[in-house]
Structures are given as structure tokens and as C-alpha cells.
Symmetry: C2
């Protein structure tokens, strides 16, 4: 049953209007910050420049209207960062939204895969 192993996925960005978009890249960064406890470490783990990571965090802070990451200076000689409760909620909601969207889309995706004859 080769067909049973085929799976179509959705690639989803949330558009909050006024140019505010939250997609898989920003969410991956927030998750990496939670894991690495620093923006620099998160950037490194995603092969992203520190500048790029910082700009994405800044964009999310502005998109959501409140900080999604809190930073602290010092503490054993180095700073650190972690998602705020809003940042954590953003990750959770994004994952809930994409999961719900994929569930809703599944019948159509299955029909489409059936029609696409390759692979």
C-alpha cells in the first residue's frame, strides 16, 4: 500500500493583518530561545545570524504589541533570554492553529494526493 505512506502537509503562516505575519520560522526561533536560553544560542542552533534572530524577535514583539522574549544581563557573566508568557502562548497557539488547520484540510488533501499521480 504505497499510498498510505504518502502524506500532504500544510505550510502555514498566520497573517494578523497590517503586514504582521507569524510563520514557522519565527515559531522555531521562539522554541530555540526557550531551549538555548539565549538569542545568540538560538540563532546558532538554527544557523541564523544573531542580527537576523534579533530582528525577528523585535518584529514579534511589535506584532504582538508586547514582548515575546525577555532578556537579562549578567548572571555568571553572561546574559540570557527566554520567552515571556505571551511568547509561550504564541508558540502554543501557533501549534494548535496549524494542527486544527491540517485536521480541517485532511479530506481535501487526501483527495488531492489521490489525483496527483506522481510518487
Amino acid at each position: 500500500m504505497p499510498d498510505s505512506r504518502r502524506k500532504a502537509r500544510l505550510w502555514i503562516k498566520i497573517d494578523l493583518g497590517e503586514g504582521r505575519q507569524i510563520g514557522p520560522g519565527k515559531i522555531a526561533l521562539l522554541k530555540a530561545i526557550a531551549e538555548q536560553r539565549s538569542i545568540a544560542g538560538a540563532a546558532r542552533s538554527l544557523s541564523m545570524s544573531y542580527r537576523r534572530a534579533w530582528l525577528l524577535v523585535d518584529e514579534m514583539n511589535r506584532d504582538l504589541g508586547s514582548p515575546v522574549v525577555e532578556t537579562r544581563v549578567g548572571g555568571r557573566g553572561r546574559g540570557g533570554a527566554r520567552p515571556t508568557p505571551l511568547g509561550e502562548a504564541l508558540v502554543e497557539e501557533f501549534e494548535a492553529i496549524t494542527k486544527a488547520a491540517e485536521k480541517g484540510a485532511q479530506p481535501g488533501l487526501a483527495r488531492l494526493l489521490k489525483r496527483s499521480k506522481t510518487v
Copy 2:
């Protein structure tokens, strides 16, 4: 009630696996071809180069394993193009999938919008 006018949307691409992606750009092109009855006209109406439009059509033909657009030469001195039944089905399924996905995502999107304080 300013909040009632705010609306979060999803921006969705379908990933059929193996690098095969169908997104809003390709679907808009198929719809423009159906309307303009030519690839050149569709490209023009979307401010897209003819080469780009042709490449996107070619990519969809390969993604789906069968042509999504049929072209014809001649006929009052000019060629023409239109979506095949598969191309028409692709547009319909894409629209059904994105609609179902947005419906599934709506509760989460509403929660997220409520949390985002800007606008």
C-alpha cells in the same frame, strides 16, 4: 466594537512532499489562465513575466503528474491556453482546503488576536 472588524487569516501552501509545493501564487496563475485564456495574458494580468508563468505551469504539470494547463496553437492566428480538468480540480481543492483549514483554525486565531494588543 473595533475587535469585531479585526480578522486573522492563514496563508497556506500545500506541501505534496518531495519539494512539490502548491501555494496561492500558482493557484492565482491557474485562475488567471482560465480567465485570460492564455498564459501570456495571465502573466500580464498578474504582472509576472511570461517565462515565470510558463515555469510555474511546467512545475505544476510535474507536481501533479499530468498537465494542469492545455495549450493550443493557432485559431485566428493566436495560441491559447486553459486549465485541464485536473487544473480546475486543483483550484477547487486548494480553495476547499484553505477554507477548511481556516475554519479549523478560527478558534485559535481568535484567541491569538485577543492576546495581540496592537491595532
